[in-house]
């Protein structure tokens, strides 16, 4: 997030797109409600009737996969009506002219046709957002899990920069990160192209610094493979060995049958986890790690706040804290240095990572710190891009709408889209919680009453969903939450893995798979 969680309550206009906030980031959902109660105007763009729709001043119900058309349409109105912030654009950005021309064709009428959102709502949303005075954007996977995911994010940045709604209290562009430490995993270099603190592996200076600290000659300088590319490489036999820490790609990856084939094809697979997950079952060695309450360490939340977890209990049996296990392996594989505690590891991190440089465990104790924290006396950074953007001037990007990689056709007439439910989170841990499992034990596919009627499907009946890649049986839930022609399903449940149906079409830049849209047909099962 460019801004803070607490900051959301300061906004005058909140634009939520591709985020079912009250279910996926519930406590941020509370902040949004607080702002609305205080008088902020909420615009929700979502194909489903999510809870926040009931709090919204304006609901834009775009067809799944048409966000980019919608966003360009908003910018079109802002340009046409002269609602942009000329001063901000001149002083802080570059490339506006090209974008201004590019959005010319996205008239409200045309966008209405592409997205299904009435033209007057597009105009009104654009005005509300532009006028703020403090407007903030919240988005999540609904925006990124498309082949145009990166373009979608750029379109949001275009919108914010054009209106000068970034780098101030109450105004920003805020991705809501999914799992509890996605932000931290990325910060720490859990990505193929960067070392900790987003320092590029291609930069020889950076590599030299790390190599020196780690006591090795040099580090690899070519960016590596992404998770989806690794799976392909494994399937083709180019990747031979994998080490998977606390993840269950067999459930969360798009196109799971490929993943299974890929992992089975490995020569050697190590999985370190707290449960024998579907992925761990395929491993050669399974190492039992520790749950959050069983170890000390830091996690970084979606607003870049580094926070400290204390150890409350011991891991069960012989299970060990994950940092200890990896530390043991480092030692065995000849790495220098030993770590006596997570705090010890953090000291090494802060020496090598400028954005974490000012972090110590004792400073984190009360409220945590938002990076960048460049020095020990720096208070942290609640709002990013205040004076300038990371690269200096903010760059506008021309991005054009493309329809989803796979669209409904005669044979597969429904648009299929996925998401999470309030009571579960990425399947593994929430499903081992008795209460959460009891209240929400079964997968469901949401289908609009009109579609249900024409197929003769009743609420609660089991149906089969079929895509070009696979099929699953699932209970139908007849509800107005989804619009006609759309099927929604969550991906928490292995009994009916939604990802058997989804498509491994990747965003060309981020390599995020398109979970949010593919085509399926619905088959009534014979009783």
């Amino acid at each position: 997030m460019t801004n803070s969680i607490a900051d959301i309550a300061q906004a005058d206009c909140i634009f939520v797109i591709g985020s079912n906030t009250t279910e996926n980031h519930p406590v941020i959902g509370l902040k949004v409600k607080e702002a609305v109660r205080r008088g902020a105007k909420l615009i929700v763009a979502d194909p489903r009737h999510i809870e926040l729709v009931d709090w919204a001043y304006l609901w834009l119900r775009q067809r799944p996969g048409t966000d980019l058309a919608l966003l360009n349409g908003l910018l079109h109105v802002i340009v046409k009506e002269g609602l942009y912030d000329q001063k901000f654009i001149e002083e802080r950005t570059e490339g506006f002219e090209e974008v201004r021309e590019a959005v010319e064709e996205y008239t409200p009428e045309k966008v209405a046709e592409l997205t299904g959102v009435p033209a007057r709502d597009i105009v009104e949303a654009a005005r509300l957002y532009a006028r703020g005075p403090r407007s903030t954007i919240l988005y999540a996977m609904g925006i990124t899990q498309h082949i145009t995911g990166t373009a979608n994010v750029m379109a949001l940045a275009n919108l914010a920069m054009a209106c000068g709604h970034i780098g101030k209290e109450g105004s920003g562009v805020n991705p809501l990160r999914g799992q509890n430490n996605v932000q931290g995993a990325c910060d720490m270099g859990g990505l193929p192209n960067v070392l900790p603190g987003y320092q590029p592996v291609t930069d020889p200076e950076v590599r030299r610094k790390f190599a020196l600290a780690w006591g090795v000659e040099d580090l690899p300088g070519e960016p590596g493979l992404t998770v989806v590319e690794m799976m392909r490489a494994a399937e083709e036999g180019r990747l031979k060995g994998m080490y998977i820490l606390g993840e269950n790609p067999l459930l969360t990856d798009p196109d799971v049958s490929h993943v299974e084939k890929a992992l089975k094809n490995l020569e050697f697979l190590v999985v370190q986890d707290i449960f024998l997950t579907e992925t761990a079952r395929l491993a050669d060695v399974v190492l039992p790690g520790a749950a959050f309450a069983e170890k000390e360490g830091t996690v970084t939340n979606t607003e870049r706040r580094v926070q400290l977890m204390h150890k409350a209990i011991d891991p069960p049996g012989e299970a060990r804290a994950d940092w200890e296990i990896i530390g043991e392996l480092l030692k065995r594989l000849g790495s220098q240095g030993e770590y006596s505690s997570p705090e010890d590891v953090m000291r090494e991190i802060t020496r090598l990572t400028p954005s974490y440089a000012g972090i110590t465990y004792s400073r984190l104790e009360e409220k945590g710190l938002q990076w960048p924290v460049p020095s020990l006396d720096h208070p942290g950074t609640p709002v990013l891009h205040r004076e300038k953007f990371t690269r200096g001037k903010g760059r506008f990007h021309v991005v054009h709408f493309r329809p989803p990689a796979e669209e409904p056709d005669e044979e597969y007439p429904f648009l299929f889209t996925t998401g999470r439910l309030l009571y579960h989170y990425h399947a593994v841990i929430s499903r081992k919680s008795r209460g959460l499992e009891e209240i929400c034990p079964e997968p469901e596919a949401e289908i609009n009453p009109a579609d249900a009627l024409s197929l003769g499907i009743e609420d609660g009946e089991t149906v089969e969903l079929i895509s070009r890649r696979g099929r699953v049986k699932v209970k139908a839930r007849v509800t107005e939450r989804v619009s006609k022609g759309t099927i929604f399903m969550s991906f928490h449940f292995w009994e009916a893995a939604a990802n058997l149906l989804t498509i491994a079409a990747l965003d060309p830049v981020s390599k995020i798979p398109e979970y949010k849209a593919c085509a399926v047909k619905v088959k009534k099962l014979l009783a």
């Binding site: 493979l225 996690v299 299970a319």
Partner: protein, 357 residues
Amino acid sequence: MAEVTLTIDGQRVTVPEGITVLEAARRAGIFIPTLCQDDRLSPWGGCRLCVVEIKGMRGLPASCVTAVAEGMVVETASPAVIEARKEILSLLLANHPQDCLTCSKSGDCRLQDYAYLYGVRGDEYQGERHNYPLEEDNPFFIRDMNKCILCGKCVRACAEVQGRSAIDFAYRGFNTRVTPPLDVTLREAGDCVFCGNCVQVCPVGALTEKQRLWQGREWEFKKVRSICSYCGVGCNITLYVKDGRVVKVTGYENPEVNNGWLCVKGRFGFDYIHSSERLTRPLIRTGERGSGQFREASWEEALDLVAEKLREIKEKHGPESLGVLCSAKCTNEENYLLQKLARGVLGTNNVDHCARL
């Protein structure tokens, strides 16, 4: 901001205009008991335990809804005030099932604390008791309206913070009760999202986490601060621990993040850590890949095998034939070490995580 100066219990205090007498007293370090007040909720003035004497004002105003004024003279513990508080507590206890012996809230109960503080035994009046059935049909918490003192905190938390308004006051007089509409249970009514924020604000034992029941007395729990393991909001939590088990989670009031509020996962979803399916020993595959057949191994054996195999593959096929997935569920330190292992030791940048999924 304009300031006013007033006198509380003989002490002159200068505070910002517009705050309440209660807040002014707290800032001056003067204690005033409250049952229905919470800084994070709108003031209500319903329990009247926070009454004070203010010179020139009739009766005993509730300090939580009385604004400070220049020159005000306040007594927070005059005989009249103490008497009034005792009376309120006596009346509350007159209809209260006094089962502190087995009540989970004992030791962390405002009513119990104030009864002790003011020496109210609860036998001053013989009041009528309620005989409501327990509401136990949801998996997360029990609602025992026999113990409810009608402070309305849960109602306000649900409406003002959670924005659900799943519960409200119903009926009148002695029969007044906090309930979902139409007297059904929360689960039946369907508006509740089981965030349990009502449970956390309840000052007495009317709302209790199921997992916490019979696990120990409040004073036996070790309290450890941590961060919720479910989503990227990073809510601050307090773990209540006894005998190596986490028995309860509450929200910690970090005003920058969640200010004490949580959702159902963070508050009630922690029991997976005690699941009997947890892995407790390293495993080495014995059967076909995917058959799920393993044998238990020692750490020595498992780690040696992993190190040996990784080294062997690196030597035979080159570093590019190895890949590592970091974890969005592990700590920064752990992710750091794993990518160090990949880059610094195995020599590959094939490092990613599943969370872009």
